[in-house]
Amino acid sequence: MQAAQRTALERFLAQRADARAVRIDEARLLAGGAIQENWLLSATVTGGPLEGTLECVLRADAPSGVSASHSRAQEFALLQEVFHAGVTVPEPLWLGDTSVFGRDFFVMRKARGTAAAHRLMKEPTLGGDRERLTERIGEELARLHTLRPPLERLAFLPAPTPSPALKGVEEFRAFLDGHHTPFPALEWGLRWLEMHAPRTREWVLAHRDFRTGNYMVDEAGLTAVLDWEFAAWSDPLEDLGWFCARCWRFGQVDKEAGGIGSREALFRGYARVSGREPTREAVFYWEVYAHVRWAVIALQQGERHVSGQEPSLELALTAHVVPELELEILRMTGVGHA
């Protein structure tokens, strides 16, 4: 972080925190995030209600500025909305703009623990009792799904018409139509999704990337749900399907809920808060959908490498997860022999 940025940021933080002064003691760029940049800030606040040490995360547009997802201001509004609904998220603090940091950004309180999926898979004590953690995730999702349109602050979210499922089918087909290589197995999956699409009369705010790796845990349990950049009005079961989809179990396929717990625990937690019991059959549709959607996203990521726009081994390899996703789609839709 450049000295001028740091000084401007200190002034901004002091003003927003109603403090006499703020000193940034440490600013560390966190790994990951090709579209956004996350800075871990440790600051000393002098005066005002937040006097003392302030640990927070600054989330800014990346310098490259490619942004297909929400703007920082929109993401901040989402975070505020879900925070007030009682979802466990990093507390949103302040929204800033280019005049301070050169790019749009917001500041949120730092959450404890780790989000790393590979650590959750390897360290069975992380996150506390796993069935309890899984239930808790169900509860969090149910709390999120209490948010329904219209909400003034979220007026920027488009209506999912004709239905959340069919909107996805249309988008994925539009992508494939513009892509250089045909994917018949994905087309097969899309046809199945079209034929079996639920009508979804009640839209809720869905996270749309709620999976292991996108929530933080400490030794005791869940500390924060992260990455709200894909949130949108959708079918409530989309989040449950995404979480349970086999492709997001990180190799722990018998732990049907995110590779960390049982599906029953997830559904139990969800039902306790929402009063509605999800059925395996209804969620199954969204598990197929999850595989198709992840395959399309993987193709898009691979294409960033293939097109020469952003050479990257990680992006290149992401394209190679598509065949196994397609195989799973075929299995789930009755094509497989195994």
């Binding site: 045909p182 997860v321 075929l330 094509v335």
Partner: protein, 120 residues
């Protein structure tokens, strides 16, 4: 005539050196990069080993199903369009073809995901 060891064989032995000799010495934050390299080499090696035979087989099966000739990309494009139209909703041959072509690609890109492979 090309030299032995050929490309696939070279990739195999190079990958072994990377995994067994270099990986243990790398600092923790570089291990992921090395594993990605090993993975990429594995995919390239398996593609070289399977050659063009399976691709040609897929092309022929597609030509028969679609009752027209063409290169693999063109035929797959037609196949995709007709699947979308619902022309193959109840067609056992189309299903078999989809399954076989996909299994072949998984064999190259992610063999551990194949039915019967030990899932880890």
């Amino acid at each position: 005539m090309r030299e032995r060891p050929d490309g696939a064989e070279l990739l195999a032995i190079a990958r072994e050196v990377l995994r067994n000799e270099l990986l243990p010495l790398l600092p923790r934050d570089k291990a992921y990069g090395a594993l990605m390299i090993a993975n990429a080499m594995g995919i390239a090696e398996r593609q070289l080993r399977s050659g063009m035979g399976a691709q040609e087989e897929e092309r022929r099966a597609l030509a028969m199903l679609l009752e027209r000739d063409g290169d693999l990309a063109t035929l797959n494009r037609v196949f995709a369009v007709r699947i979308r139209q619902g022309a193959f909703d109840d067609n056992a041959h189309a299903r078999e073809l989809l399954w076989n072509a996909t299994v072949q690609r998984v064999r190259e890109s992610a063999p551990k995901a194949l039915p019967g492979a030990s899932s880890r």
